[in-house]
Symmetry: C3
């Protein structure tokens, strides 16, 4: 029996990758970054975090899901020192995005680079309905 599959595409790479795929009751999202719809990337990690979650929320809605459906997060950061210095603001933006204490596992680590040099954080989520 093949599981039902739903695919959502958007943005400049929509012919290469999907931004979200739902298979059975699992939703995989592509890593989301802190860029607004006009392509602007704010300097602050907290603002980038807020923008990434804004994209995540919009993508989840395409699958009938909300932030409450997220079960696992991977936080990719380009600078651990800057991350530590802004930890409260970053997790404040995250708390605001969730609107409650998230029931979510998280793995956070430093990467050698993200797709654009201005990006400081990328968030990859798995959700379950």
């Amino acid at each position: 029996m093949t599981k039902s599959k739903q695919v959502f595409r958007s943005g400049p790479y929509s012919d290469l990758i999907a931004q979200g795929v739902k298979i059975g009751s699992t939703v995989y999202l592509s890593g989301q970054v802190g860029m607004d719809s006009a392509g602007n990337i704010p300097v602050s990690m907290a603002e980038q975090t807020a923008l990434a979650y804004s994209s995540i929320r919009i993508l989840l809605a395409e699958f009938g899901a909300t932030m409450d459906n997220i079960v696992d997060e991977t936080f990719l950061v380009t600078n651990m020192e800057e991350t530590h210095a802004n930890l409260e603001a970053i997790f404040g933006a995250r708390a605001e995005a969730y609107g409650r204490i998230p029931e979510v596992t998280q793995t956070l680590f430093g990467v050698a680079g993200l797709l654009f040099p201005e990006l400081k954080i990328e968030i990859k989520c798995i959700a379950h309905l």
Copy 2:
């Protein structure tokens, strides 16, 4: 139909992230590191590996799971040279934690940093019951 969800929190970040989330028959764990309950971080990668698996085993037990339920691992290491030089000891500690040849996929790569500078390895697991 919403799947049953179980959440386990512990440690200093328990108001921010869960250490484990079970949704349906899948258990996601946050990445575990080589720190003991007193916050001590041993210098050796093998000892850090043993401690990380010790945490993983304790977390899995909260969900009625054991090491045998792990299906996928991500090994994040901060130094590839040190990893190669200690490969036998690291995988020896892992073999001891599993107690048999693990039926587990693995992806290992070098990261630019983990949460604390003394950390040399972080292990993220997915388990299925």
Copy 3:
């Protein structure tokens, strides 16, 4: 009720890790790299990408799956500049491997190192049947 589990091992690390694990309808693959069966690693990222997908296709077949069953990819690259300079060739090799526009989410980031210094890309996939 325990889910059915299928494990596939091959290669030099077969006593340490599985190259693929199927649990229920989910298939986890270990990260695959651009090395041929003789251990040769081509210099070009596009050729490494083609070889990695060749391994992925072979592994999926062990589980009765094809490239169409892949739902999520993680692209680990060692050099973001080289990745940008070869983006078209890399994604060309990927398009050829899929044979159509992939219905797959992707997260791409720079790592500090892969298992061997000659490796420039590693691809980790999750598939669902």
